[in-house]
Each structure stands twice: as C-alpha cells, then as structure tokens.
C-alpha cells in the first residue's frame, strides 16, 4: 500500500513523497515505514512511543486514532495512508 509523506518529512524518506509498504494492519505498515526510515520515528512518535499530538495519520479518509480497531485495523493493498501534520495558529497568545 502507499503511504503519502508530507513535505516536511520527506527529508527523512530520501525525498520520496510516496512510500510503498506491505503489511496486514495499520500498525504493521507504520512499523515497516519507520524500520525503512528510522529517522522518521522521532518525528512521528514521542519518546514514549505515542503518536505526536500534532501528527495526524489517516487511513483513506479516517483518522487512525478513531478507528475502532486502532493500529490493528486490517488494510488492503488499495488503501492509502496519509501522514499530515496539523495547521493552526492565531493572532494572539
């Protein structure tokens, strides 16, 4: 399946905007991704191994945080994972 990498994280995937990985679950493909590109890990996860709060990972159009099966959700080759950091701000503190 394809994992789409956002512009700021391509520095850690050898400039690749899409990485193709195989695996049976969301957790497995993410594991494979960070095994192939170890520098990516610290940008996606906290030292405790939790997905960073500002990093969103979507399986097709669904946030993996809210999938009933979370990271054990099964995937098919035609599915897509998209990593997308958040965009927010404001004029005052």
């Amino acid at each position: 399946m394809d994992i789409h990498i956002p512009t700021p994280l391509r520095a850690y995937t050898g400039s690749k905007q899409t990485v193709n990985v195989t695996g049976a679950t969301v957790g497995q493909v993410l594991q494979q991704l960070t095994d192939s590109y170890p520098e990516l890990r610290q940008h996606l996860y906290t030292p405790e191994g939790k997905l960073r709060s500002f990093v969103n990972i979507y399986l097709n159009d669904d946030d993996i945080r809210y999938l009933p099966g979370k990271e054990s959700t099964p995937i098919e080759e035609s599915d897509e994972l998209t990593i997308i950091p958040s965009i927010a701000g404001g004029r005052y503190f």
Partner: protein, 156 residues
C-alpha cells in the same frame, strides 16, 4: 525567497477581507526550489475554530488531505500556508509558532486593518524538528503577469 504571482497574492489578501473580522486560512501549492518556495496556486480552506475565529485558525486534517490529493493530481506540493490577522500586525504570534509543524514551508500572514488587507509578510519555518524550529523572515517576490493590454501590444 517566496515567489508568488500577483493574482494569487491578490486572492489571499481578498480572502482575509471577506472573512474579516475573522481569520482566514489556506494553503500554498507549488514547488520547493533551491532558492525558495515557488507558489503556483493558492487554495482556500475553512477555519474550523468557529468558537474563536476572531483570533484563532485551524484547517481540518480531512480538508488538508483533500488539498494534498488535489496538489498531487496537479504535480504540485504543499509548500506553505496563509492566514490573516484581523487588526493585528502581520507578525507571527506565540500560538502561530507553537502550532507550526511544517518545516521547510512558508507561512504567509496578512494584516487586515479595519477590513482592508495592508501588510503581507512571509516566514519560513526552518530547523530539523520541534526542538530547534525557527521562523525566519522571508522576502516575497510578486511576479506580475502581463495585463491583457500588454499581451495585445506584444502581439503587435
């Protein structure tokens, strides 16, 4: 340096006037080049912070994913974002900095003064990640497209 056409520059400033006194937001699509981000297209996005739209903005990740798909279809990348500061300087705030995570991307801010866009600045987010990220001032080059009259004259 950030390069942007006059049309897109005008479009993002107009967006801030339309949403005034609320903050507007959107994405910049184009290419990252060795001398900076070149914007080919701006895309408007909705501000999900309806609770505090006068001083906060947020783009829904679902919308960002659609924007990224759209960019990919055009052979473009997300190279930055823009938002407005209603009656506040065109400078990044602490919130803007804390919430900025797209290293290598340009963050454009326009001050909308009493409903009229005046100052527009761009800041490049640099660094390796959250620990050493930094906003640096970035020059904006507005590329003027030839007007219809000029095009007609060029044809002779």
């Amino acid at each position: 340096m950030l390069k942007l056409s006059y049309l897109e520059y005008r479009a993002l400033r107009a967006h801030g006037e339309e949403t005034y006194p609320h903050e507007c937001c959107g994405a910049l699509l184009g290419h990252a080049t060795p001398d900076g981000n070149h914007v080919s297209q701006t895309v408007r996005a909705g501000n999900t912070r309806s609770d505090r739209a006068h001083d906060r903005y947020n783009i829904a990740p679902e919308e960002l994913i659609k924007i990224q798909r759209h960019a990919r279809g055009l052979g473009l990348d997300i190279v930055g974002f823009y938002h407005s500061h209603p009656d506040c300087p065109a400078q990044w705030s602490k919130t803007d900095f804390d919430e900025a995570h797209w290293v290598g991307c340009s963050y454009i801010i326009t001050r909308v003064n009493h409903g009229k866009s005046d100052v527009t600045n761009s800041f490049l987010l640099t660094g390796m990640g959250e620990d050493d990220k930094q906003f640096i001032d970035e020059a904006v080059e507005i590329e003027m497209a030839p007007s219809q009259t000029e095009k007609a004259q060029a044809k002779g």
